[in-house]
């Protein structure tokens, strides 16, 4: 017995000696679209995940509440339309180069020159380096949510780019390489397969040991593949685009459900230039007849988690101007009949075209629900499936835009301006965000007031007025406030996606890998 015990002890000791002190931890997640590595071209979710981890920005959204906190900038002052930032002097790029004000200027000018992604946020901004740690950004006109926009200005290593590219803006280099200060550096990037990132050992903030050492962001996995990979223990966080049934199955198998909310909604956008939707009573009738409760049930994962929460109006709960959560929209057939009575068009001859985006099969279900609701009031309609490319083409003119278009829209900076201005201001018709073709002076005034107001109270008042006006003229049926749901293994904890007090209120920033914890399970 003693002999056996000694042998086992020796074997255990030998095994312990042979094993590394810390096993490398790998986080594996996926996104549907290929991630764009060039930060000046980043716009969708996968791009944002890459950008927020490989690059840093001057400010960060505050966790668990409104406002922004310093990040690369140690502090800032505002003087009218001029913002002066004092930069931290201890930040190094992954290349070893020191981050200076010249890099900030280069990053702004690069965004403007390339004109891609979300560069429109920085149109008309003049950047000037005062000294190595001071930079001024001057706007053509005051813009209240400018600080919020800075979460979309990743700072690029100018020296590295110029050393590795013949072109001024280094598109060739940055499409396959990282040049940021971020907590993770790019190890490899295969647009058809995955981007691999490794934890940087020179990050200017402390990163916990439990944060993943390596991250593999995979692209274009099929739902069945994701489900099997998670079952095999070879995948950690699924994208938000899994069908609800697959998320339910994963949850039933023990997966945790991570959520991100408060940044956007799901909208049925009505073409206000096209009869019969050019009449407000017709639009109000459609808004009242829609079955919001069933729509919410259709996206429920289980009793506790859903792909959305009930809409309370034109502005998602949590943003400036949002209605209280007790003002949930519901189907009201009596009101619908009353509005329809004042609608000058014959319901039987309306023949409304309800479109859905071919790449989002969930939308077909909403189209069928809507058609069924309309049938209850004798309103004729037809359903059209549109590939995204064709939809983007059709909405460029009011004549070719369908009567009703279904869209998920989010605030790209977390501020309501980036959600609502592009949708409703009369100066921005004909984009994928604005198939309503709304032209309303009161709406324009409220949107402009939201941009120019300097205090939170004034902005709240401006957006409350906007919300009320939008509900009164109903250019859109506000389906639900969106909540992204991610099925994940129990090998990872993501406080920013599971604890509201740690949430950023900005799409994709919850995937800051440096704040994640590998559990070792």
């Amino acid at each position: 017995m003693m002999k056996n015990t000694a042998l086992i002890t020796a074997l255990c000791a030998a095994t312990a000696l042979a094993s590394p002190a810390f096993a490398e931890t790998v986080l594996r997640l996926d996104e549907v679209a290929v991630g764009e590595l060039d930060p000046a071209k980043a716009s969708d979710y996968a791009d944002s995940i890459l950008m927020f981890n490989v690059y840093d920005t001057l400010v960060l959204p505050a966790q668990g509440g409104p406002g922004h906190t310093p990040h690369l900038a140690a502090s800032w002052d505002v003087d009218g339309a001029t913002y002066t930032f004092t930069l931290r002097d201890d930040v190094m790029f992954q290349s070893g180069n020191k981050m200076t004000a010249a890099d900030v200027v280069y990053s702004v000018e690069r965004m403007q020159a390339l004109g891609a992604g979300l560069s429109y946020l920085f149109a008309g901004v003049t950047a000037e380096a005062v000294d190595d740690t001071t930079v001024t950004l001057t706007l053509e006109t005051p813009y209240a949510p400018f600080i919020a926009s800075l979460v979309r200005l990743p700072i690029v290593d100018m020296t590295l780019v110029k050393a590795n590219s013949d072109s001024e803006w280094g598109e060739d280099f940055l499409s396959g390489n990282g040049a940021g200060t971020g907590a993770y550096s790019v190890t490899s990037h295969n647009p058809q397969e995955e981007t691999v990132m490794a934890k940087s050992d020179s990050y200017f903030l402390d990163v916990a040991d439990v944060a993943p050492d390596t991250v593999r962001l995979r692209y274009g996995l099929e739902p069945a593949t994701v489900r099997t990979l998670i079952a095999q223990g070879e995948h950690d966080i699924a994208s938000q685009w899994l069908p609800p049934e697959v998320v339910q199955a994963l949850a039933n198998d023990g997966a945790q459900l991570l959520t991100e909310s408060g940044t956007g909604g799901f909208y049925f956008k009505m073409n206000t230039q096209k009869p019969p939707l050019d009449n407000v009573n017709c639009r109000l009738a459609l808004s009242a007849v829609f079955d919001y409760g069933t729509a919410i049930q259709m996206i429920a994962i289980n009793d506790e988690v859903s792909g959305g929460s009930p809409s309370t109006g034109a502005i998602p709960v949590g943003m400036f101007g949002a209605n209280g959560s007790d003002m949930v929209q519901t189907q009201d057939l009596d009101a619908a009949k009353a509005y329809l009575a004042d609608c000058p068009y014959d319901p039987a001859e309306m023949n409304l075209e309800i479109s859905w985006i071919a790449e989002v099969p969930l939308e077909e279900r909403f189209a069928l629900l809507m058609q069924s609701n309309f049938n209850e009031m004798g309103i004729s309609s037809s359903i059209t499936k549109l590939p995204w490319a064709l939809f983007a083409e059709q909405v460029s003119t009011a004549e070719t835009t369908p009567h009703i278009s279904q869209l998920f829209v989010n605030a790209v900076t977390g501020d309501p301006d980036t959600l609502l201005y592009g949708m409703y201001h009369s100066s921005t018709p004909g984009t994928w965000q604005s198939p309503e073709y709304l032209n309303d002076a009161e709406v324009d005034a409220a949107l402009d007031a939201g941009r120019s107001a300097t205090s939170d109270a004034d902005r709240e008042a401006a957006y409350s007025a906007l919300n009320a006006r939008l509900m009164a003229i109903a250019p859109t049926i506000y389906g639900f406030d969106r909540q992204s749901v991610f099925a994940a293994s129990n090998r990872v904890n993501v406080p920013a996606l599971s604890d509201p007090a740690m949430a950023f209120g900005l799409d994709g920033m919850g995937f800051s890998f440096r704040l994640m914890e590998m559990t070792g399970e």
């Binding site: 891609a116 058809q192 069945a224 593949t225 790449e359 983007a392 083409e393």
Partner: protein
Amino acid sequence: MSGFLRLLLNRLGISLIVLVGVSMLIFAIARIIPGDPARIALGPNANAEQIAKLRAEMHLDASLPVQYGHFVVDVLRGDLGTSLYTNRPVTQDIAQFLPATLELVFLAGFIMVAVGLPLGILAAHYRGRWQDHLVRVIALLTVSAPAFVWAVILMLLFAFYLPLFPIAGRISDIYDIERTTGFLTIDTLLAGNWTAFGSAVHHLILPAIALSLSGIGQAARLTRANMVETYDKPYIEMAQAYGFFPSRIARSYAFKPSLIPSLTIIGLDFAAMLGNAFLVEAVFAWPGLSRYGVAVILRKDLNAIMGTVLIIAITFLIVNIIVDLMIAFLNPRIRYSTRGTS
């Protein structure tokens, strides 16, 4: 000039004409697909000025013949342009993704031939007996379901319920193999890393089987039908009357003439796998050219569409030439009949 050389030159000439025709056709079709490529490339937030600028850079405002002229000049310089999907030169994308698909298709083709032909021979040899019935049922089963259905079924059986095979990627994450040829089975051997080679083969098995199954059924059915027809020929009866062994009759007198029509179909199947590989590549997260091709079509990435289609067309034509040469080798009458046409 030998019959083979004449046949080869003849087929090369025809292939060149086909290639030019395909390029013109795809060039026109790619521009008819709904959606403005510049608008799609720049993303949903681009303004009209940015779109107009990119359209000008891409020559999209010129007439179709002028655009085609630009394309031909660039191709002759070896420049297929930049992919708007990956933001890289299309040639770089093809060089990275084509070996993955070829590796998959080669193994699937090998399985198709190695399993399909013997099954067909077996069924013909035991015509009307249980072995024949069994092969016919198997063949019908494999032909009746498309490759992606088999991909999902195999994944459920051998990865989800019985976790025997990996289902994503080409090799385990733990290996960092230098890509010399792009064929991971070869690159791992060149690196002398046998465990990595095992991992690459392990990753290949399920997708290759899924891709090959319908071809196996088709090859088995065709080979059986041709062999059964050949067995009814008088010279086979004569060989049987002479008392030749059944295995000698099958090998020397029945199989070779039966092989010619099968070979033609197998050749076409093999080339068609390049296109059919898309869904298998999607299910198994295989980073190949077929999946890339569909992705670029959905994004109306004109340069990448043209590059992908041209490469698939060239591969298709090369496979057909090889099949023609093999058939000519098996049947001298075809070899010498080209005299009249050349």
